[in-house]
Amino acid sequence: MNPYFYPIASALVLGLMPTVAKLGLSEGMPPLQGTLFGTFAAIPLYVLVLMALGKWKDLWRIDQRSLVFLAASGGCSSLALLFMFTALSLGAVSIVVVISNAIPFFNLLFVFAFLRGERITGKVLLGNLAIVTGLVLAAIA
């Protein structure tokens, strides 16, 4: 299979997800329970994938440091999805998707805050300025 199939499929699936979520939230399901249900639905399939790949045993060999980071990552990503589902229940998919894609901008803030050694070029700053402009345009649309 052409290796470019995977990123294209990812863009399509992640691009379709907000519309599917908005349709799922359309008949009175609160965003909190909707996010909980969506997250829960993924777990049994993960178990099947892990078993099919023979990686189930790897679960018991994880070091404590990795576990702490993965747990924090899980908490952040679930809260992110909760905020996104709540925003989707209140507003248009196009606006929510554009604004919630401000990830490079916040990455830059994290680099400033936590990774002092990393060099930030003029191009990166210009790119983030363009992203902020795009977000402002989407927010006032």
Partner: protein
């Protein structure tokens, strides 16, 4: 409110990226993603119990199926495809293509939800996509 919630989502996803990178240095990405999803589910379960008790909302089977599909798309399919893409063609090629989701999402919203695309929003989408593409292609 929509803008603030969407910005919070972006902030948390940025944090998720940093934390996942640290967490999967010694761990297989699929295993790490599974652990992260289980912890996330537990956190959401606690929040739901504190916020709304054990009350089960009533909704149609179609809506439940759509929410389940959204969860699977976000966690299992989306993440796995991202990992496989990065592994097969490298982040510098994969990430710009994946960032096209910001262009794809409004197309689906226009088709399925009949949302309107204003010139301002269109320009905003193009700016965010263009610079995410350029920044990602240099990563």
């Amino acid at each position: 409110m929509v803008v603030a919630l969407s910005l919070l989502a972006a902030l948390l996803w940025a944090a998720t990226g940093v934390l996942t990178k640290k967490g999967t240095e010694q761990v297989d990405p699929v295993v790490g993603s599974f652990i992260s999803t289980c912890v996330g589910f537990s956190a959401l379960l606690l929040i739901t119990i504190f916020a709304s008790g054990a009350e089960v909302p009533r909704t149609g089977a179609n809506q439940l199926a759509l929410l389940a599909a959204a969860g699977v798309m976000n966690y299992l399919i989306g993440r796995s495809l991202n990992y496989v893409s990065i592994k097969m063609i490298g982040p510098s090629r994969a990430m710009p293509i994946i960032s096209a989701q910001v262009l794809v999402a409004p197309v689906f919203a226009l088709m399925a939800l009949r949302e309107t695309l204003t010139p301002q929003l269109g320009t905003g989408i193009l700016l965010v996509f263009l610079w995410t593409y350029i920044l990602a292609s240099k990563s």
